[in-house]
């Protein structure tokens, strides 16, 4: 189930969402009134089902119609997948940064690394090799590049 932590800094509301987004989600009720700018921290969103997607779009479309400036940052892999699958998932907002999945070639551990979208060139994605935090082995990008970064080309 989703949890929402709110932090108001002047005219900017920061929402930290965590957990899974499903049929019980009611962001309007959970968030309440919003200022002209909203920043959404998506780091801890583990998964989102189809009814959760519907609730998400319904809520952020309402903010879009109010001309709220929306920024999604630290997007988890679950959120990046939705951004890629559904063209209007961020409802006119900006994706500022995303977590990129890596896998250790030695111990198979799953790792993630944060990248700013502004630093990613959609026509030539270049990712560094990471060192596995568990075994110090080589960790490489673990997804389908053309899919995972496809939203950058929109």
């Amino acid at each position: 189930m989703i949890k929402v932590a709110k932090e108001l800094n002047g005219n900017i509301l920061v929402l930290r969402l965590s957990g899974s987004i499903e049929e019980t989600v009611n962001l309007e009720e959970m968030v309440g009134p919003t200022p002209p700018e909203v920043r959404v921290d998506c780091k801890e969103i583990t998964r989102i089902n189809s009814v959760g997607v519907k609730g998400w779009i319904k809520y952020f479309q309402t903010l879009q119609t109010k001309n709220t400036k929306m920024t999604f940052f630290q997007c988890s892999t679950a959120i990046v997948e939705q951004v890629n699958l559904i063209s209007n998932f961020v409802c006119g907002g900006t994706v500022e940064s995303i977590y990129v999945p890596f896998a250790c070639t030695n111990c198979k551990a799953e790792l993630i690394a944060l990248f700013k979208t502004a630093d990613l060139n959609p026509s030539a994605i270049q990712l560094p090799e990471l060192k596995c935090t568990k075994c110090s082995g080589k960790a490489v990008f673990d997804d389908i590049e053309e899919e995972y970064f496809s939203f950058l080309s929109r």
Binding site: E22, N49, S50, V51, A78, S87, I144, E147
Partner: protein, 327 residues
């Protein structure tokens, strides 16, 4: 005498794929691209499965026309449940198939080279074996006979999250990486939700819960009972949600499966409580989908995922959409 597996393809990898299936299921493999020969086999032999490779709409129409002229599209020699179409392109590129009475099952050819084709054949052999039965119901039919199978009877709709989370924990224990476990958990979430909210119909065929919020607490007893079964053989995991309505609409399912939301605006139907994107997401995420339904009696929708070393291979795995409809 063994039934025939008819392969309509010249590709070496398809031959390896079909040969593996024929050996495993004990079918006699006949390989031809000659339309006269193909139609006479369909007419005269006991055909357990037909595998068709085609490169485009024109190729498919020629095949369809030959079957129409020589056998009859609605002949009792033609059972769409036993037709399997192999394609390099995804299902949304093959929408023309859905209009044909010959359309049954869709295989996304994710095998290149003989080794991968044989491996895919070994997986699909169980599917073919099940489709040669009178009724293919039961996840056990799609797995090795010694596989573990567990069944859960749901009592209330609000137990869904508990079931999904238990499954997710089970997968992680079975050494599925977290992202794979999440993808499978999401797929199962969709199956159960559809079984609870989309399957129930009244005597006129109207969907009872079309406008009911998906967080409603519904008692699942009698006709409304839902069964969730899980099979695991160490290589792949399969999960089925079974309802007692047999109300699934093949055309509607295929329409949802072939919609691409990345290219067009996802418009929500506010009058409908469901979202309609769950199954498409599952198939694109690497899962095979199985739809088995006997009208007004029972529907089983299953997902099958192979466990692979990394997400890249997991998302790009061999997969299929199986449609077994009994009237």
């Amino acid at each position: 005498m063994a039934q025939t597996l008819l392969l309509v393809s010249n590709r070496p990898d398809d031959i390896v794929f079909a040969r593996k299936i024929a050996e495993t299921v004990d079918l006699q493999l006949v390989h031809s691209v000659d339309l006269m020969e193909i139609t006479s086999i369909i007419k005269e032999k006991d055909v357990g499965a037909v595998f068709v490779d085609f490169v485009n709409l024109e190729g498919f129409r020629t095949f369809e026309a030959a079957v129409h002229d020589q056998v009859g599209l609605f002949s009792d020699r033609v059972n769409s449940n036993r037709f399997h179409y192999i394609s390099d392109l995804d299902i949304e590129e093959r929408k023309f198939l859905f209009e044909s009475p010959l359309f049954g099952n869709f295989i996304l050819r994710k095998y290149s080279g003989t080794e991968k084709a044989a491996r895919a054949g070994a997986r699909y052999a169980y599917v073919v074996k099940a489709t040669t039965m009178d009724r293919a119901f039961g996840i056990r039919n799609f797995f090795h006979p010694k596989s573990q199978v567990q069944t859960i009877q749901m009592k209330r709709s609000t137990q869904k999250q508990q079931v999904v989370e238990a499954l997710r924990a089970y997968l992680i224990k079975a050494k599925y990486p977290t992202r794979m476990a999440n993808t499978i958990a999401n797929a199962v979430d969709e199956l159960i939700m559809n079984a609870i909210f989309a399957a129930p119909t009244d005597t006129t065929g109207r969907r009872v819960y079309d406008q009911t919020p998906r967080d409603a607490d519904i008692q699942l007893e009698g006709k409304a009972q839902i069964e969730v079964s899980i099979a695991f053989d160490g290589i792949q995991v399969g999960i089925c949600a079974t309802d007692q309505y047999g109300s699934i609409d093949k055309e509607k399912v295929l329409r949802h499966l072939s919609t691409v939301y990345k290219d067009e605006q996802y418009k929500m139907k506010m009058s409908i409580a469901g979202a309609g994107i769950g199954l498409a997401t599952t198939f694109r995420g690497g899962g095979s989908l199985l739809f088995l339904s006997e009208k007004n009696s029972r529907t089983e929708v299953c997902v099958i995922f192979e466990r692979l070393d990394n997400i890249r291979e997991f998302k790009d795995q061999f997969r299929y959409v199986l449609n077994q409809f009994y009237y």
